[in-house]
């Protein structure tokens, strides 16, 4: 008997493996509904008659473009404005004041890793315009970069277009009218992000499982609401790449209820601030401490190798 899922169970298993391999994300068995709804709309858009036929082509032909689109659709998370406001408090009350004091001027670069449809970045941009925050920032300019897999969501982040429902979730009426305008196109009920919110904001595609080399250097990296979905291997890899993009004494901000789960020699948790880590200024050694064997089985072997060189 078939359940709610019209996709063949073997395909579902194959999609779970593909998502784990490409994105490092573990889909639970409860993701069946998500797979169905998200992939059905992708299948329609790509011109397939059924979801099964799209998945069949994916696994028989194995085109990487389709694989990336499928995985991006599967790992895309729902978000809204001012999600997890406690971690924004951490940003504005701890990380930014410290960096502003240390730098005194110039710019502060912030990376939103896994920015989805962009609400996190625009929420920060809205709060950065509050009078009290402007006074604190002084001459310092905040530049923000959002990265995510190429997806519909990332496109929407770039255009800054949000639905009637999205602009009413997490966003106050005051912030809405100060920072958005209704789309006047006939039949549209969308709202458009005002130009001033897009100043110093860029969105970039990130290739699945790509390294951090192309991401740049940042004073603050925000990686919120995602760490729990990663397998351990993928989690360690992501945290290492993010650490590499952080400048010394820069901050990594996770969700307010999240932690790294492993210790990293270059990252120290900031006391009293859940989810906040500071990058130390050591040598670039980002292995989780005591978790990664170095291949040596004894001191004898180490000595021998040293003698040999």
């Amino acid at each position: 008997m078939r359940g709610a899922l019209s996709l063949r169970p073997t395909y579902y298993e194959a999609l779970r493996r593909l998502t784990l391999q490409l994105a490092g994300v573990q889909m639970g068995s409860d993701h069946a509904f998500l797979v169905e709804t998200r992939l059905s709309s992708l299948a329609r858009k790509e011109g397939f008659d059924t979801l099964d036929s799209m998945v069949q082509e994916l696994f028989s032909v194995g085109k990487s473009r389709l694989a990336i689109q499928v995985v991006s659709a599967l790992v895309e998370r729902d978000t809204h404005f001012n999600r997890d406001p406690l971690s924004f408090d951490t940003l504005f009350n701890i990380a930014l004041p410290d960096l502003i004091e240390k730098r005194g001027g110039g710019r502060i670069d912030l990376l939103s890793y896994g920015c989805g449809s962009g609400q996190d970045i625009y929420s920060i941009a809205i709060r950065a315009r509050y009078a009290a925050v402007r006074a604190m920032m002084g001459p310092v300019a905040l530049h923000m970069t959002g990265v995510d897999y190429p997806s519909q969501a990332l496109e929407r982040a770039r255009t800054g277009r949000y639905t009637h429902f999205e602009v009413q979730r997490g966003l106050s009426a005051r912030d809405l009218v100060a920072n958005f305008t209704p789309d006047l196109a006939p039949g549209s009920t969308d709202w458009l992000t005002a130009a001033h919110l897009k100043e110093n904001v860029t969105f970039q595609d990130m290739h699945l499982m790509a390294g951090s080399e192309s991401m740049g250097e940042y004073h603050i990296v925000m990686f919120r609401g995602a760490i729990a979905h990663y397998s351990r291997t993928a989690r360690v890899r992501v945290i290492r790449s993010l650490t590499k993009t952080l400048r010394p004494y820069g901050y990594l901000i996770l969700g307010s209820g999240e932690d790294l789960q492993d210790s990293y020699s270059e990252l120290e948790p900031v006391a009293g601030a859940p989810g906040l880590y500071r990058r130390l200024k050591h040598d670039p050694m980002t292995e989780p401490v005591g978790k990664q064997p170095n291949g040596q089985t004894s001191f004898e072997g180490a000595k021998t190798r040293r003698v040999g060189t």
Partner: protein
């Protein structure tokens, strides 16, 4: 004593849908069809929150707030939290409502996430309801 929210809307269906959502947020719900009905209700027992359509059959939102303010001052009662819930979606209309003294503004159509989020933004939720709200 349970917390009370007054819903003011000409449409019985809007009142019914909104009432179900607002009860879930921990409020006792009372309903009114017109601005005057709502004012009469407030004269008896002032609710903590009022969610009302900008255009009730007998008066506009600004007039309602002005009359309510006078009444509250006479009684020495604090103003309830006011959320407008209306189909009008222009920036001018929202600014007008905020200037008149609204705490939040909901554009129809709404769903439970929107109402929960706006109640949270207006400072009406606490504890588990606040934790569950989209904020």
């Amino acid at each position: 004593m349970s917390r009370r929210c007054l819903i003011v809307d000409q449409s019985a269906m809007v009142r019914r849908v909104a009432a179900r959502i607002i009860r879930e947020l921990g409020f006792e719900v009372i309903e009114a069809r017109t601005g005057q009905d709502a004012l009469d209700t407030c004269a008896g027992l002032t609710p903590e929150a009022i969610m009302l359509d900008w255009k009730t059959p007998d008066m506009g939102g600004a007039e309602f707030i002005a009359k309510l303010r006078v009444m509250m001052q006479q009684n020495g009662t604090p103003m309830p939290t006011i959320l407008f819930c209306t189909g009008e979606r222009s920036v001018e209309q929202i600014v007008l409502a905020l200037k008149a003294g609204a705490d939040e503004y909901i554009m129809k159509p709404f769903d439970s996430d929107i109402i929960g989020s706006k109640f949270a933004l207006a400072g009406l939720l606490d504890g588990e309801n606040l934790a569950c709200a989209v904020l």
